[in-house]
Symmetry: C2
Subunit: 380 residues, 2 copies
């Protein structure tokens, strides 16, 4: 048994020798990954722990994918200074459906068990919640970096937020997890599962965390910020967005996504290979080839000159494009810029723009084209 | 409207002018008192807020008595360093029944609405609990003296304990309380009700707290310590226990129980009148007279000499009576003392003793009699 293949890129494996012990059980392990369904997309960063689940599946283990329909009603406080907005039941159901389709891009469907945590959480009474809450102390929960910072900054933490990790922990009880996977931002939630399980007569699960894949702007990928690459992004968009990462990021992206070193041949070639891989994984080889040709034509070659002047995004966020274009001298006025946008004569990375206001992070690094001859590279 | 009659002996009335405002509504106010049913008895100390409820009832308001059958399953963390033991459903039901009988010694049954909080709390789901928990911050709950001390002493506080005040607060929502009564140790729980109610579209309740009536040993009355006087204690026992309070305590007891000043005539006469009142309230005038005669016969007059020597309770707790008697020179040996107890020849305040081990607090101040002639006054 090649444990190192299972733990590749892991940040934490807790306890250190626990996984080897579990593997000695000689039966398929139940490897849990819980995902909340706060947005309709899984981005390639959230696919990193899915890739670990696939590695377990390839060794004969069972991936148990928890769709957090019930937990999504609360919102995960991890790494956030405010609670997430509450989604409607309809939005949650719709998101859950698209999530599954996307997860199966990475997973082996034959070795995947899909469960919705409403199945068991909706049955718990106040007394059950109290029994569950009895297993963890306040101090233990407040140790978490995110809570600790907020307590020190005297920012309010609602008691409801303390109940979130307990729900996730109870998921591990309900499905009798042997291993739980998650990003490093989930470490304390996963450890809560370890603490709770023995109170329900179960061996504590092994916790395995993976690094966060940062976006081209150096921040965590987020659909609300607009710096993410969904697994189901259109081929051209996925290709173009991947090409926006800096040369410095290539090492991490190769290691986490392709699980290999950056090949020789220079950063541009490496980025193209990476973008090709991502599009092929989601959409197949033909789509990848078409996306690359599109990219080469309109973004790299196309009409863009060799040296494109830079235009700094130093105004408001979101950026009002007509103002940016007029201030940057790419159109005579904001009204002309607005007219050009309406005609489809303004393009970002070769794609016509339809919106007037775009989040700054979504623009950073893009090639802006106005009419046939005016170009600018947008920078932060 | 005589507000001062309603707030007599109150420690806190919050907000200060809130009660006068509520009284202007011109309808009977709903005056809540919640009691957990952790033991079968209500002692005379816990009857103090019941007396306030009675004062409201005498002015035409409605007393809403919440039997905390559901909350008792958790245990109130107030003023305790450990969570209370969980009672069985049968014990809870039995205690709830005796509680009601006892409460009606003080209350006006025609103006009392009795509710069990399982009625609404048992219906709440995990999502409902989370919605409720969203209304209060962790910092707010940890402000409580008891939690604060335990956090600073690094003693564990389980998350379940934070959910207790929320249940009590939700009781106020469910019965639409105008006023909530409680001992000073309940202040934060009552204030939690004020915070939660507006989130459910209700005006916050007025909070009115009463002082704790301390027992003869200066501690909070507790059936587990044995220093309490249950409302249903047998007449002789109630009389004898009341007589054990110190002269210094007379002022507080008169003020809280009789709502009047200590009368002239000396402390002994005042204590007798107090004991007489308490027994008459619970058992009627004849029982009070009989209890007083019993007390005079066996405890004061009886065979007890004028000057009884003192015997200090400085050994282990609970006190092993045979050892106490032998060490105190009231019997030749522990085995003789044990034999005398078996024969009913050892009495405490005139009552034969049947147990060999008695909590120290239950003995303090008692008159110990061994055989016909040997006496000692037990002191701490």
């Amino acid at each position: 048994m090649d444990v190192s293949r299972l733990t590749r890129n892991a940040v934490d494996v807790l306890p250190a020798d626990g996984l080897a012990e579990k593997l000695k059980l000689g039966r398929p392990l139940r490897v849990k990954l819980g995902i909340d369904v706060t947005s309709p997309d899984i981005h390639i960063g959230r696919a990193i722990p899915l890739q670990r689940m696939r590695a377990f599946q390839d060794e004969g283990h069972t991936g148990v994918l928890i769709i957090g329909d019930y937990t999504t009603r609360i919102g995960d406080p991890s790494g956030r200074s405010a609670e997430r907005p509450i989604l409607s039941d309809e939005e949650i159901d719709a998101n859950a459906k698209t999530y599954l389709d996307q997860a199966m891009i990475i997973l082996d469907p034959d070795r995947t068990e899909v469960r919705y945590n409403g199945e068991w959480l909706a049955k718990l009474s106040y007394a059950d919640v109290v029994g569950l809450a009895r297993t963890i102390t306040v101090a233990r929960i407040l140790e978490r970096d995110d809570f600790d910072k907020r307590m020190k900054a005297q920012e309010p933490i609602s008691i409801s937020e303390l109940l979130y990790p307990l729900m996730q922990a109870y998921d591990s009880v309900a499905i009798q997890a042997d291993v739980e996977l998650g990003g490093t931002d989930q470490l304390y939630n996963l450890l809560a599962g370890r603490e709770v399980m023995p109170h329900y007569g179960l061996e504590p699960q092994i916790v395995l965390t993976t690094p966060l894949l940062l976006s081209w702007d150096g921040a965590k990928m987020s659909s609300s910020v607009g710096n993410n690459i969904p697994l189901t992004a259109a081929p051209e968009e996925m290709f173009g967005r991947t090409m926006r990462i800096s040369d410095d990021q290539l090492g991490q992206w190769y290691e986490l996504i392709l699980e290999q070193q950056v090949p020789d041949g220079g950063p541009l070639e490496a980025k193209l290979a990476l973008a090709r891989f991502l599009v092929a994984r989601s959409h197949g080889g033909e789509a990848a080839q078409a996306a690359e040709e599109h990219f080469a034509r309109v973004v790299r070659r196309g009409e863009a000159p060799e040296d494109v002047p830079e235009l700094a995004l130093d105004g408001e966020d979101p950026v009002h494009l007509p103002k940016l274009i007029a201030d940057g001298g790419l159109a005579a006025s904001t009204s002309e810029a607005r007219r050009l946008i309406g005609q489809g004569a303004v393009k970002l990375n070769g794609e016509p723009v339809s919106e007037l206001d775009v989040p700054r992070a979504a623009l950073a690094g893009s090639l802006l084209q106005v009419g046939k001859r005016r170009f600018a590279r947008l920078t932060l």
